[in-house]
């Protein structure tokens, strides 16, 4: 996963200028597609376009080796601190799953 950085702020969102130094944000690097659940919710009442998926979990994932966080959908129940990884990228959605321990 690509993250963007300027003045110590890392983000998965590519923005134009840095709000601290006002320069163009140019630093980017790859980080692993895995992390831990920082927080989550289970969406029971969904917007019309996602109503068929409800209830589903939306989690904010603290990415590994970065201060950046990522909003993902997970089809299973999770708790804060659970290790998670990318399952697939589908229609612009990061679909994550719990890391399975052997």
């Amino acid at each position: 996963m690509k993250i963007y950085e300027c003045c110590g702020v890392e983000s998965v969102t590519k923005k134009v200028y840095c709000s601290t130094c006002r320069q163009e944000i140019k630093n980017e690097r790859e980080v692993p597609d895995e992390g831990t659940v920082y927080s989550f919710t289970v969406i029971h009442i969904a917007p019309a376009e996602y109503a068929h998926l409800a209830p589903y979990t939306v989690a904010l994932v603290q990415l590994k080796d970065s201060t950046a966080k990522l909003t993902v959908r997970i089809q299973e129940s999770v708790q804060i601190g659970d290790p998670v990884q990318l399952d697939e990228m589908k229609d612009g959605t990061y679909i994550y799953q719990k890391v399975r321990t052997a």
Partner: protein, 377 residues
């Protein structure tokens, strides 16, 4: 130059089945204008969020000017999601402070009840950045505050019962407000066990879908209420970009700026209307506005400090949770309740008549925040 409040009005909030968006807007506007008949209105500012998408009606400002015979004066509609009303008020104030206008009408309005919940939820989502992975993940507004709430519980001693107590307080306040949407009492048990919307937020933790309008006439001519601060700030448009998930920096910054402009601190404020679109939002806002220490708002709720006649009364109107949340009208309706409090005849009137009142109106998931401070002259 100082800006004064001359009149306030508000329609009944709730299901106004037989009234159109225009009807609601004109009813509130007429009432405010009738109370300030000696003033000539120089401009109109309308706060509205989804008149175009949900009620198929724009040109709201021109409709007010035409139908209420205000003449060929300039008008504008302001949009800032749920902060549309507060932003319209601020633009009215700035218009007067610039010297361009002497008196302005500000009206906030929304018509929502006629649409199915899934449709309204979909349109409300347009107040989040719709080009991003967050939209595709299926994040919603109540979803954002559900994520915030679970983290808040994780980092503090708070749990769902604290949000329920907060929601109950606002419901109890609404019972005394004849214009509030919800006037049926609720119990803590009922709130705790209500249908889940976005875990851990249940039905009572979320503001309802509402029809309604509110209006205010402002002028540089003196009255009994003056506006001592108007401040606005922007914040992140995405959850994943929040530096601190348990902070809404736009609220903190707009609050700090307002205190500075008014030359007062949070300890000086006697009565508050806060943007409780969700119970969790009020919890964060009472911390960001400096009324209680960070991550300790839940203790204040536990101790009843924000109840009517508590140490810092918050949402004596019932708030968005129980007064109702017709999106564009909300910021203006906050003025309505606070002006009544300052004048001494509000629903849930404080025993000691307040002198300083603060209104905080939020848009998006912390993308906009507007804070106004009013003072009884």
């Amino acid at each position: 130059m100082t800006v004064y409040v001359h009149s306030v009005s508000m329609t009944k909030f709730g299901n106004n089945e037989n009234a159109s968006l225009k009807d609601l807007m004109l009813t509130a506007s007429k009432e405010a204008l009738d109370e300030a008949r000696d003033l000539k209105i120089d401009a109109v500012f309308v706060g509205n969020y989804m008149g175009g998408s949900l009620a198929n009606q724009e040109i709201l400002g021109a409709i007010v000017a035409n139908d209420l015979g205000l003449g060929p004066i300039p008008t504008a509609k302001l949009e800032g999601a749920c902060a549309s009303g507060g932003i319209a008020l601020r633009q009215g104030i700035l218009g007067i402070l610039s010297g361009e206008y002497e008196s302005v009408l500000v009206v906030g309005v929304e018509k929502m009840k006629h649409a199915p919940t899934a449709t309204v939820t979909q349109f409300i989502n347009s107040a989040m950045d719709q080009t991003t992975n967050e939209r595709y993940a299926g994040l919603t507004f109540p979803g954002f505050f559900g994520v915030v709430a679970n983290r808040y519980f994780h980092e503090t001693g708070a749990n769902k019962s604290h949000l329920a107590k907060l929601a109950l307080k606002n419901r109890e306040n609404a019972l005394q407000n004849p214009l509030a949407q919800f006037q049926k009492p609720a119990t803590l048990e009922e709130i705790m066990n209500a249908r889940m919307i976005t875990d851990p937020l249940g039905l009572f933790d979320c503001s309802p879908i509402t029809d309604g309008a509110a209006a205010v006439v402002l002028s540089r001519k003196p009255s009994d209420i003056k506006i001592v601060a108007s401040a606005q700030a922007s914040g992140p448009t995405m959850m994943q970009d929040a530096i601190d998930l348990l902070s809404l920096p736009a609220i903190r910054i707009s609050g700090q700026q307002a205190y500075e402009k008014a030359g007062v601190g949070p300890e000086d404020i006697d009565v508050v209307e806060i943007h409780d679109c969700f119970s969790m939002t009020e919890m964060l806002a009472i911390e960001e506005l400096g009324f209680f220490p960070k991550l300790e708002g839940w203790l204040a709720i536990e101790q009843g400090k924000t109840r009517v006649n508590g140490e810092k009364p918050v949402n004596t109107s019932g708030g968005l949770l129980s007064r109702g949340h017709p999106i564009g009208a909300t910021g203006v309706a906050q003025f309505y309740q606070l002006v009544l409090q300052l004048r001494g005849h509000a629903p849930n009137q404080l025993e000691k008549r307040p002198r300083l009142a603060l209104a905080q109106n939020l848009g998006g998931t912390g993308s906009y925040s507007v804070v106004h401070i009013l003072e009884r002259v």
